[in-house]
Amino acid sequence: MDQVKIREYDKNKNPFRLFGAHVAAIGEGIKHAIKPKTITLKYPDVSMTLPTNYRGMIRLYKDVCIGCSLCAMICPADAMKMTTWEGKKLPQINYGRCVFCGFCVDVCPVDALKETRVHDAAFQSRRELVFNPDKFNQDFDQTLPVKGTVRKVRAVIDENKGIRYVPDE
Protein backbone atom coordinates (compact mmCIF):
# COMPACT_ATOMS: atom_id res chain seq x y z
CA MET A 1 0.00 0.00 0.00
CA ASP A 2 1.55 3.31 -0.99
CA GLN A 3 1.96 6.10 1.47
CA VAL A 4 -1.34 7.90 1.81
CA LYS A 5 -1.61 11.52 2.88
CA ILE A 6 -4.57 12.17 5.15
CA ARG A 7 -5.89 15.66 4.63
CA GLU A 8 -7.54 18.06 7.05
CA TYR A 9 -9.68 21.05 6.39
CA ASP A 10 -8.54 24.21 8.06
CA LYS A 11 -10.48 25.26 11.09
CA ASN A 12 -10.24 28.97 11.65
CA LYS A 13 -11.79 30.37 14.76
CA ASN A 14 -10.56 33.91 14.36
CA PRO A 15 -13.63 36.23 14.46
CA PHE A 16 -12.08 38.66 12.01
CA ARG A 17 -11.55 35.92 9.46
CA LEU A 18 -15.12 34.83 9.99
CA PHE A 19 -16.30 38.35 9.28
CA GLY A 20 -14.13 38.41 6.18
CA ALA A 21 -15.68 35.14 4.99
CA HIS A 22 -19.15 36.62 5.45
CA VAL A 23 -18.17 39.64 3.38
CA ALA A 24 -16.68 37.39 0.68
CA ALA A 25 -19.89 35.35 0.44
CA ILE A 26 -22.07 38.47 0.16
CA GLY A 27 -19.67 39.91 -2.40
CA GLU A 28 -19.91 36.74 -4.47
CA GLY A 29 -23.69 36.99 -4.38
CA ILE A 30 -23.61 40.63 -5.47
CA LYS A 31 -21.19 39.81 -8.27
CA HIS A 32 -23.55 37.21 -9.64
CA ALA A 33 -26.54 39.47 -9.22
CA ILE A 34 -24.92 42.11 -11.38
CA LYS A 35 -23.54 39.81 -14.07
CA PRO A 36 -25.65 36.69 -14.19
CA LYS A 37 -24.85 33.51 -16.10
CA THR A 38 -28.32 32.43 -17.04
CA ILE A 39 -28.64 29.08 -18.75
CA THR A 40 -32.41 28.98 -19.06
CA LEU A 41 -33.92 28.01 -22.38
CA LYS A 42 -37.16 29.91 -22.86
CA TYR A 43 -39.11 27.00 -24.24
CA PRO A 44 -41.45 27.00 -26.20
CA ASP A 45 -40.62 30.38 -27.69
CA VAL A 46 -37.17 28.98 -28.32
CA SER A 47 -36.76 25.33 -29.12
CA MET A 48 -33.59 23.32 -29.07
CA THR A 49 -32.53 21.01 -31.88
CA LEU A 50 -30.71 18.04 -30.50
CA PRO A 51 -27.44 16.66 -31.80
CA THR A 52 -27.50 14.18 -34.66
CA ASN A 53 -27.01 10.98 -32.72
CA TYR A 54 -29.64 11.66 -30.08
CA ARG A 55 -31.80 8.66 -29.29
CA GLY A 56 -35.26 10.08 -29.84
CA MET A 57 -38.42 8.56 -31.25
CA ILE A 58 -38.04 5.82 -33.82
CA ARG A 59 -39.21 5.56 -37.40
CA LEU A 60 -39.76 2.42 -39.41
CA TYR A 61 -39.12 1.98 -43.13
CA LYS A 62 -41.82 -0.49 -44.08
CA ASP A 63 -40.46 -1.54 -47.43
CA VAL A 64 -37.02 -2.47 -46.15
CA CYS A 65 -38.12 -4.56 -43.19
CA ILE A 66 -37.73 -8.32 -43.66
CA GLY A 67 -39.70 -9.38 -40.60
CA CYS A 68 -36.85 -11.14 -38.77
CA SER A 69 -38.24 -9.96 -35.38
CA LEU A 70 -34.81 -9.38 -33.86
CA CYS A 71 -36.05 -5.97 -32.66
CA ALA A 72 -38.92 -7.53 -30.75
CA MET A 73 -36.61 -10.07 -29.15
CA ILE A 74 -34.13 -7.50 -27.92
CA CYS A 75 -36.57 -4.83 -26.72
CA PRO A 76 -36.11 -4.61 -22.91
CA ALA A 77 -39.54 -3.20 -22.21
CA ASP A 78 -41.70 -5.30 -24.57
CA ALA A 79 -42.60 -2.20 -26.55
CA MET A 80 -41.95 -3.69 -30.00
CA LYS A 81 -44.22 -6.51 -31.03
CA MET A 82 -44.59 -8.14 -34.42
CA THR A 83 -47.97 -8.06 -36.17
CA THR A 84 -49.15 -9.22 -39.53
CA TRP A 85 -49.94 -6.17 -41.62
CA GLU A 86 -51.08 -6.48 -45.24
CA GLY A 87 -49.60 -9.92 -45.46
CA LYS A 88 -46.15 -9.03 -44.14
CA LYS A 89 -44.79 -9.43 -40.65
CA LEU A 90 -44.02 -5.94 -39.37
CA PRO A 91 -43.27 -4.43 -35.96
CA GLN A 92 -45.59 -2.17 -34.06
CA ILE A 93 -44.42 -0.01 -31.19
CA ASN A 94 -46.06 1.06 -27.96
CA TYR A 95 -44.62 4.37 -26.89
CA GLY A 96 -46.12 3.99 -23.44
CA ARG A 97 -43.47 1.34 -22.76
CA CYS A 98 -40.53 2.42 -24.87
CA VAL A 99 -37.49 3.51 -22.83
CA PHE A 100 -35.57 4.91 -25.83
CA CYS A 101 -32.58 2.68 -25.27
CA GLY A 102 -31.88 2.31 -28.99
CA PHE A 103 -31.27 -1.44 -28.96
CA CYS A 104 -33.79 -2.13 -31.72
CA VAL A 105 -32.19 0.42 -34.03
CA ASP A 106 -28.78 -1.08 -33.43
CA VAL A 107 -29.77 -4.70 -33.93
CA CYS A 108 -31.86 -4.41 -37.12
CA PRO A 109 -29.83 -6.23 -39.81
CA VAL A 110 -31.25 -4.24 -42.75
CA ASP A 111 -31.41 -0.79 -41.10
CA ALA A 112 -35.16 -0.54 -41.35
CA LEU A 113 -35.39 1.43 -38.09
CA LYS A 114 -33.96 4.88 -37.70
CA GLU A 115 -33.87 7.31 -34.84
CA THR A 116 -35.34 10.75 -35.25
CA ARG A 117 -34.41 13.71 -33.10
CA VAL A 118 -37.89 14.33 -31.78
CA HIS A 119 -38.11 14.13 -28.03
CA ASP A 120 -41.31 15.96 -27.18
CA ALA A 121 -44.53 14.51 -28.49
CA ALA A 122 -47.96 14.67 -26.95
CA PHE A 123 -50.92 12.37 -27.47
CA GLN A 124 -54.48 12.70 -26.41
CA SER A 125 -55.37 9.19 -25.39
CA ARG A 126 -53.53 6.01 -24.45
CA ARG A 127 -54.69 4.28 -27.59
CA GLU A 128 -52.78 6.76 -29.71
CA LEU A 129 -49.56 5.65 -28.09
CA VAL A 130 -49.57 2.35 -29.97
CA PHE A 131 -48.29 2.95 -33.48
CA ASN A 132 -49.36 0.47 -36.09
CA PRO A 133 -46.85 -0.06 -38.89
CA ASP A 134 -48.42 2.51 -41.18
CA LYS A 135 -48.23 5.23 -38.60
CA PHE A 136 -44.80 4.01 -37.66
CA ASN A 137 -43.77 4.52 -41.27
CA GLN A 138 -44.50 8.21 -41.27
CA ASP A 139 -41.99 10.91 -40.75
CA PHE A 140 -42.34 12.17 -37.25
CA ASP A 141 -42.61 15.88 -37.27
CA GLN A 142 -44.69 17.69 -34.75
CA THR A 143 -45.05 21.42 -34.74
CA LEU A 144 -45.43 23.19 -31.47
CA PRO A 145 -48.75 24.96 -30.91
CA VAL A 146 -47.25 28.39 -30.30
CA LYS A 147 -48.18 31.73 -31.77
CA GLY A 148 -45.55 33.11 -34.04
CA THR A 149 -42.41 31.40 -35.21
CA VAL A 150 -40.27 29.27 -32.96
CA ARG A 151 -36.58 30.00 -32.97
CA LYS A 152 -34.38 26.97 -33.16
CA VAL A 153 -31.14 26.94 -31.23
CA ARG A 154 -28.38 24.49 -30.50
CA ALA A 155 -26.60 24.07 -27.17
CA VAL A 156 -22.87 24.73 -27.11
CA ILE A 157 -20.59 24.38 -24.11
CA ASP A 158 -18.91 27.65 -23.24
CA GLU A 159 -16.03 28.09 -20.82
CA ASN A 160 -17.40 31.14 -19.08
CA LYS A 161 -21.08 30.62 -19.07
CA GLY A 162 -21.53 26.88 -19.07
CA ILE A 163 -24.11 26.42 -21.78
CA ARG A 164 -24.73 28.95 -24.48
CA TYR A 165 -27.37 28.75 -27.19
CA VAL A 166 -26.41 29.55 -30.77
CA PRO A 167 -28.98 29.84 -33.54
CA ASP A 168 -29.46 26.82 -35.69
CA GLU A 169 -30.57 27.07 -39.29
Partner: protein, 352 residues
Amino acid sequence: MMDILQDIKYVILYPSFFVTIIFPGLVVGGLFILLAIWFERKIAARVQMRVGPYYVSRFGGIAQLLADAIRVAFQEIIIPAGVNPTLYVIAPIFPLLFAFLPLAFLPIGVIPEQGSVFSAYYRSFFDPCVGMGVIVALPTEYSLIAVLAVEAAYPIFVILQAWATNNRFALVGAVREAYLSVAYDVLILMSVIAIAVEYHTLDVAKVVQSGIPGIVANPLAAFVFFVGLIMATSRFPFEIVEAESELVTGPATEYSGLLFLLSMGGSYFGTYVYALYFAAVFLGGWYPLSGFPGAVILFLKAAIIVLFSVFLRSVYGRYRIDQALRNSWRLLLPVALASIVLGIVGGWLWIR
Protein backbone atom coordinates in the same frame (compact mmCIF):
# COMPACT_ATOMS: atom_id res chain seq x y z
CA MET B 1 -67.49 72.72 -4.04
CA MET B 2 -64.05 73.90 -3.11
CA ASP B 3 -65.09 73.57 0.49
CA ILE B 4 -65.79 69.90 0.11
CA LEU B 5 -62.47 69.35 -1.62
CA GLN B 6 -60.68 71.26 1.10
CA ASP B 7 -62.40 69.16 3.73
CA ILE B 8 -61.48 65.95 2.00
CA LYS B 9 -57.92 67.10 1.69
CA TYR B 10 -57.81 67.99 5.36
CA VAL B 11 -59.07 64.57 6.35
CA ILE B 12 -56.81 62.62 4.04
CA LEU B 13 -53.66 64.46 4.90
CA TYR B 14 -54.30 64.38 8.62
CA PRO B 15 -51.13 62.65 9.81
CA SER B 16 -52.81 60.07 12.02
CA PHE B 17 -54.71 58.82 9.02
CA PHE B 18 -52.08 59.45 6.42
CA VAL B 19 -49.21 57.70 8.14
CA THR B 20 -51.01 54.54 9.15
CA ILE B 21 -53.27 53.98 6.20
CA ILE B 22 -51.76 55.58 3.14
CA PHE B 23 -48.07 56.36 3.30
CA PRO B 24 -46.09 54.44 4.55
CA GLY B 25 -48.95 52.47 6.01
CA LEU B 26 -51.26 49.83 4.65
CA VAL B 27 -51.67 50.86 1.05
CA VAL B 28 -48.16 51.86 0.08
CA GLY B 29 -46.65 49.33 2.46
CA GLY B 30 -48.69 46.49 1.05
CA LEU B 31 -47.76 47.36 -2.52
CA PHE B 32 -44.13 47.73 -1.54
CA ILE B 33 -44.12 44.35 0.11
CA LEU B 34 -45.45 42.76 -3.07
CA LEU B 35 -42.60 44.48 -4.88
CA ALA B 36 -40.11 43.25 -2.28
CA ILE B 37 -41.18 39.64 -2.64
CA TRP B 38 -40.97 39.96 -6.41
CA PHE B 39 -37.49 41.39 -6.02
CA GLU B 40 -36.51 38.53 -3.73
CA ARG B 41 -37.52 35.95 -6.29
CA LYS B 42 -35.97 37.82 -9.19
CA ILE B 43 -32.62 38.54 -7.60
CA ALA B 44 -32.32 35.01 -6.26
CA ALA B 45 -33.00 33.79 -9.79
CA ARG B 46 -30.27 35.98 -11.23
CA VAL B 47 -27.70 34.63 -8.81
CA GLN B 48 -28.90 31.07 -9.38
CA MET B 49 -28.57 31.00 -13.16
CA ARG B 50 -32.26 31.14 -13.96
CA VAL B 51 -34.91 33.68 -14.84
CA GLY B 52 -37.50 33.94 -12.09
CA PRO B 53 -41.00 35.34 -12.70
CA TYR B 54 -41.28 35.99 -16.38
CA TYR B 55 -44.62 35.60 -18.05
CA VAL B 56 -47.19 37.48 -16.05
CA SER B 57 -46.65 40.97 -17.36
CA ARG B 58 -44.54 42.75 -19.86
CA PHE B 59 -41.60 43.82 -17.74
CA GLY B 60 -40.10 40.77 -16.11
CA GLY B 61 -43.20 39.42 -14.45
CA ILE B 62 -43.64 42.29 -12.04
CA ALA B 63 -47.31 41.57 -11.53
CA GLN B 64 -46.58 37.97 -10.57
CA LEU B 65 -47.06 38.65 -6.88
CA LEU B 66 -50.41 40.29 -7.47
CA ALA B 67 -51.50 37.19 -9.36
CA ASP B 68 -50.21 34.96 -6.56
CA ALA B 69 -51.95 37.00 -3.89
CA ILE B 70 -55.28 36.89 -5.69
CA ARG B 71 -54.96 33.17 -6.28
CA VAL B 72 -54.15 32.42 -2.66
CA ALA B 73 -56.93 34.64 -1.42
CA PHE B 74 -59.51 32.64 -3.32
CA GLN B 75 -58.40 29.19 -2.21
CA GLU B 76 -60.54 27.11 0.07
CA ILE B 77 -60.06 27.62 3.80
CA ILE B 78 -59.85 24.20 5.40
CA ILE B 79 -60.42 23.97 9.15
CA PRO B 80 -59.11 20.71 10.62
CA ALA B 81 -61.26 18.67 12.93
CA GLY B 82 -59.25 18.78 16.13
CA VAL B 83 -58.93 22.55 16.61
CA ASN B 84 -60.98 25.25 18.22
CA PRO B 85 -62.49 26.96 15.17
CA THR B 86 -62.76 30.46 16.63
CA LEU B 87 -59.15 30.60 17.69
CA TYR B 88 -57.99 28.96 14.48
CA VAL B 89 -59.61 31.60 12.33
CA ILE B 90 -58.71 34.71 14.27
CA ALA B 91 -55.18 33.68 15.27
CA PRO B 92 -53.35 34.66 12.06
CA ILE B 93 -54.65 38.20 12.26
CA PHE B 94 -52.75 39.09 15.40
CA PRO B 95 -49.14 38.66 14.25
CA LEU B 96 -49.88 40.78 11.21
CA LEU B 97 -51.55 43.39 13.40
CA PHE B 98 -48.70 43.61 15.85
CA ALA B 99 -46.09 43.68 13.14
CA PHE B 100 -47.83 46.67 11.69
CA LEU B 101 -49.00 48.62 14.74
CA PRO B 102 -45.60 50.11 15.70
CA LEU B 103 -45.96 52.35 12.70
CA ALA B 104 -48.34 54.43 14.77
CA PHE B 105 -45.49 55.77 16.88
CA LEU B 106 -42.82 56.26 14.23
CA PRO B 107 -42.35 59.79 12.91
CA ILE B 108 -41.70 60.05 9.23
CA GLY B 109 -40.98 63.75 8.77
CA VAL B 110 -41.07 67.24 10.23
CA ILE B 111 -43.58 69.95 9.39
CA PRO B 112 -42.23 73.45 8.80
CA GLU B 113 -44.43 76.33 9.75
CA GLN B 114 -45.12 77.34 6.17
CA GLY B 115 -44.63 75.92 2.78
CA SER B 116 -45.63 72.29 3.08
CA VAL B 117 -48.91 70.50 2.50
CA PHE B 118 -48.85 69.46 6.11
CA SER B 119 -48.50 72.97 7.50
CA ALA B 120 -52.17 73.05 8.44
CA TYR B 121 -51.38 70.58 11.22
CA TYR B 122 -48.39 72.44 12.59
CA ARG B 123 -50.07 73.47 15.79
CA SER B 124 -51.69 70.19 16.68
CA PHE B 125 -48.61 68.05 16.02
CA PHE B 126 -46.05 70.33 17.59
CA ASP B 127 -43.17 68.59 19.30
CA PRO B 128 -41.40 70.70 21.96
CA CYS B 129 -38.17 68.63 21.83
CA VAL B 130 -37.63 69.47 18.18
CA GLY B 131 -39.32 72.82 17.91
CA MET B 132 -41.29 71.91 14.79
CA GLY B 133 -44.33 69.91 13.86
CA VAL B 134 -43.81 66.20 13.32
CA ILE B 135 -45.66 63.90 10.93
CA VAL B 136 -46.59 61.05 13.23
CA ALA B 137 -49.78 59.17 13.98
CA LEU B 138 -49.63 59.32 17.78
CA PRO B 139 -47.33 62.08 18.97
CA THR B 140 -45.28 61.15 21.98
CA GLU B 141 -41.94 62.06 23.43
CA TYR B 142 -40.81 58.48 23.82
CA SER B 143 -41.17 57.23 20.28
CA LEU B 144 -37.72 55.59 20.30
CA ILE B 145 -38.85 52.86 22.65
CA ALA B 146 -42.61 52.99 22.08
CA VAL B 147 -42.12 51.43 18.65
CA LEU B 148 -40.06 48.61 20.10
CA ALA B 149 -42.49 48.06 22.96
CA VAL B 150 -45.37 47.39 20.59
CA GLU B 151 -43.21 45.24 18.32
CA ALA B 152 -42.16 43.04 21.22
CA ALA B 153 -45.65 41.57 21.47
CA TYR B 154 -45.28 39.89 18.07
CA PRO B 155 -43.73 36.57 19.18
CA ILE B 156 -46.54 35.92 21.67
CA PHE B 157 -49.08 35.90 18.88
CA VAL B 158 -46.96 33.66 16.68
CA ILE B 159 -46.97 31.14 19.51
CA LEU B 160 -50.73 31.55 19.85
CA GLN B 161 -51.16 30.92 16.15
CA ALA B 162 -49.06 27.77 16.24
CA TRP B 163 -50.83 26.48 19.35
CA ALA B 164 -54.20 26.95 17.72
CA THR B 165 -53.38 24.59 14.88
CA ASN B 166 -52.69 21.50 17.00
CA ASN B 167 -49.85 20.28 14.81
CA ARG B 168 -46.48 19.00 16.02
CA PHE B 169 -44.47 20.76 13.36
CA ALA B 170 -46.10 24.09 14.17
CA LEU B 171 -45.35 23.53 17.83
CA VAL B 172 -41.65 23.02 17.17
CA GLY B 173 -41.69 26.24 15.15
CA ALA B 174 -43.40 28.13 17.96
CA VAL B 175 -40.91 26.96 20.56
CA ARG B 176 -38.10 28.13 18.32
CA GLU B 177 -39.74 31.52 17.98
CA ALA B 178 -40.04 31.76 21.75
CA TYR B 179 -36.34 31.06 22.25
CA LEU B 180 -35.28 33.38 19.49
CA SER B 181 -37.42 36.30 20.63
CA VAL B 182 -35.49 36.63 23.88
CA ALA B 183 -32.19 36.79 22.02
CA TYR B 184 -33.03 39.40 19.45
CA ASP B 185 -35.10 41.62 21.72
CA VAL B 186 -32.14 42.07 24.03
CA LEU B 187 -29.87 43.00 21.16
CA ILE B 188 -32.27 45.49 19.67
CA LEU B 189 -33.01 47.16 22.97
CA MET B 190 -29.37 47.47 23.91
CA SER B 191 -28.39 49.08 20.67
CA VAL B 192 -31.27 51.53 20.95
CA ILE B 193 -30.26 52.37 24.53
CA ALA B 194 -26.80 53.17 23.22
CA ILE B 195 -28.32 55.62 20.77
CA ALA B 196 -30.55 57.13 23.43
CA VAL B 197 -27.60 57.71 25.74
CA GLU B 198 -25.53 59.21 22.97
CA TYR B 199 -28.13 61.63 21.71
CA HIS B 200 -29.55 62.46 25.16
CA THR B 201 -33.12 61.96 24.03
CA LEU B 202 -35.83 59.38 23.55
CA ASP B 203 -37.46 61.07 20.59
CA VAL B 204 -36.79 59.84 17.09
CA ALA B 205 -37.44 63.23 15.56
CA LYS B 206 -34.75 64.82 17.72
CA VAL B 207 -32.25 62.11 16.80
CA VAL B 208 -32.84 62.81 13.13
CA GLN B 209 -32.88 66.58 13.42
CA SER B 210 -29.52 66.62 15.16
CA GLY B 211 -28.06 66.01 11.74
CA ILE B 212 -25.70 63.17 12.59
CA PRO B 213 -26.82 59.75 11.36
CA GLY B 214 -26.62 56.96 13.91
CA ILE B 215 -24.29 54.88 11.79
CA VAL B 216 -21.64 57.60 11.98
CA ALA B 217 -22.09 58.26 15.67
CA ASN B 218 -22.18 54.63 16.75
CA PRO B 219 -21.42 52.06 14.04
CA LEU B 220 -21.41 49.16 16.49
CA ALA B 221 -24.99 49.87 17.48
CA ALA B 222 -25.97 50.02 13.81
CA PHE B 223 -24.42 46.64 13.14
CA VAL B 224 -26.06 45.01 16.16
CA PHE B 225 -29.43 46.48 15.26
CA PHE B 226 -29.14 45.26 11.69
CA VAL B 227 -28.39 41.71 12.76
CA GLY B 228 -31.26 41.95 15.23
CA LEU B 229 -33.53 43.09 12.39
CA ILE B 230 -32.67 40.02 10.37
CA MET B 231 -33.22 37.74 13.35
CA ALA B 232 -36.53 39.30 14.30
CA THR B 233 -38.24 38.94 10.99
CA SER B 234 -37.02 35.55 9.75
CA ARG B 235 -34.84 36.64 6.93
CA PHE B 236 -32.05 34.32 5.85
CA PRO B 237 -29.72 33.24 7.56
CA PHE B 238 -32.08 33.27 10.52
CA GLU B 239 -35.11 31.76 8.86
CA ILE B 240 -35.43 29.34 11.71
CA VAL B 241 -39.12 29.57 12.53
CA GLU B 242 -40.33 28.60 9.10
CA ALA B 243 -37.50 26.30 8.17
CA GLU B 244 -38.90 24.59 5.15
CA SER B 245 -36.92 21.43 4.99
CA GLU B 246 -37.35 20.57 8.65
CA LEU B 247 -40.73 21.93 9.68
CA VAL B 248 -42.99 22.17 6.72
CA THR B 249 -43.99 25.84 7.09
CA GLY B 250 -43.55 26.35 10.80
CA PRO B 251 -46.49 27.95 12.60
CA ALA B 252 -48.49 28.33 9.43
CA THR B 253 -48.44 24.68 8.41
CA GLU B 254 -52.16 24.01 8.54
CA TYR B 255 -53.40 27.23 7.01
CA SER B 256 -54.67 27.65 3.48
CA GLY B 257 -56.38 30.37 1.56
CA LEU B 258 -56.72 33.86 2.94
CA LEU B 259 -55.45 32.85 6.38
CA PHE B 260 -52.21 31.64 4.79
CA LEU B 261 -51.78 34.99 3.10
CA LEU B 262 -52.16 36.74 6.45
CA SER B 263 -49.65 34.44 8.13
CA MET B 264 -47.03 35.02 5.51
CA GLY B 265 -47.51 38.74 5.48
CA GLY B 266 -46.59 39.16 9.15
CA SER B 267 -42.88 38.63 8.80
CA TYR B 268 -42.55 40.81 5.72
CA PHE B 269 -44.43 43.67 7.34
CA GLY B 270 -42.11 43.35 10.31
CA THR B 271 -39.10 43.74 8.04
CA TYR B 272 -40.66 46.83 6.53
CA VAL B 273 -41.40 48.56 9.82
CA TYR B 274 -38.02 47.73 11.30
CA ALA B 275 -36.38 49.02 8.14
CA LEU B 276 -38.23 52.32 8.45
CA TYR B 277 -37.02 52.56 12.03
CA PHE B 278 -33.45 51.74 11.04
CA ALA B 279 -33.50 54.31 8.28
CA ALA B 280 -34.85 56.98 10.60
CA VAL B 281 -32.51 56.43 13.53
CA PHE B 282 -29.34 55.15 11.93
CA LEU B 283 -29.27 56.37 8.36
CA GLY B 284 -30.15 59.99 8.90
CA GLY B 285 -33.87 59.76 8.16
CA TRP B 286 -35.37 62.70 6.41
CA TYR B 287 -32.69 65.31 7.25
CA PRO B 288 -32.25 67.96 5.75
CA LEU B 289 -35.51 67.92 3.85
CA SER B 290 -38.82 68.48 5.54
CA GLY B 291 -42.45 67.84 4.87
CA PHE B 292 -43.48 65.38 2.22
CA PRO B 293 -40.14 65.15 0.34
CA GLY B 294 -38.47 64.18 3.60
CA ALA B 295 -40.91 61.34 4.03
CA VAL B 296 -40.15 60.12 0.53
CA ILE B 297 -36.42 60.13 1.25
CA LEU B 298 -37.02 58.10 4.39
CA PHE B 299 -39.11 55.63 2.43
CA LEU B 300 -36.41 55.20 -0.20
CA LYS B 301 -33.75 54.53 2.42
CA ALA B 302 -35.99 51.96 4.07
CA ALA B 303 -36.63 50.37 0.68
CA ILE B 304 -32.91 49.83 0.17
CA ILE B 305 -32.64 48.15 3.56
CA VAL B 306 -35.59 45.85 2.84
CA LEU B 307 -34.26 44.91 -0.57
CA PHE B 308 -30.85 44.11 0.86
CA SER B 309 -32.39 41.93 3.57
CA VAL B 310 -34.29 39.89 1.04
CA PHE B 311 -31.22 39.60 -1.17
CA LEU B 312 -29.53 37.62 1.60
CA ARG B 313 -31.73 34.66 0.67
CA SER B 314 -29.43 33.86 -2.20
CA VAL B 315 -26.25 33.88 -0.16
CA TYR B 316 -26.96 32.11 3.08
CA GLY B 317 -28.41 28.91 4.38
CA ARG B 318 -30.17 28.80 7.69
CA TYR B 319 -28.72 28.48 11.15
CA ARG B 320 -29.66 25.92 13.70
CA ILE B 321 -31.60 27.31 16.66
CA ASP B 322 -28.94 26.67 19.26
CA GLN B 323 -26.25 28.14 17.02
CA ALA B 324 -28.27 31.30 16.51
CA LEU B 325 -28.81 31.66 20.25
CA ARG B 326 -25.19 30.91 21.07
CA ASN B 327 -23.88 33.37 18.50
CA SER B 328 -26.18 36.09 19.65
CA TRP B 329 -25.36 35.70 23.32
CA ARG B 330 -21.66 34.99 22.92
CA LEU B 331 -20.59 37.17 19.99
CA LEU B 332 -23.15 39.91 19.62
CA LEU B 333 -23.89 40.75 23.26
CA PRO B 334 -20.31 41.93 23.92
CA VAL B 335 -20.53 44.07 20.80
CA ALA B 336 -23.80 45.54 22.10
CA LEU B 337 -22.19 46.29 25.48
CA ALA B 338 -19.27 47.91 23.67
CA SER B 339 -21.71 50.02 21.72
CA ILE B 340 -23.27 51.27 24.96
CA VAL B 341 -19.83 52.28 26.20
CA LEU B 342 -19.16 53.97 22.88
CA GLY B 343 -22.49 55.74 23.21
CA ILE B 344 -21.61 57.06 26.66
CA VAL B 345 -18.24 58.31 25.46
CA GLY B 346 -19.71 59.82 22.30
CA GLY B 347 -22.51 61.48 24.21
CA TRP B 348 -20.09 63.08 26.59
CA LEU B 349 -17.49 64.25 24.09
CA TRP B 350 -19.29 64.88 20.88
CA ILE B 351 -23.01 65.31 20.76
CA ARG B 352 -24.45 67.91 23.05
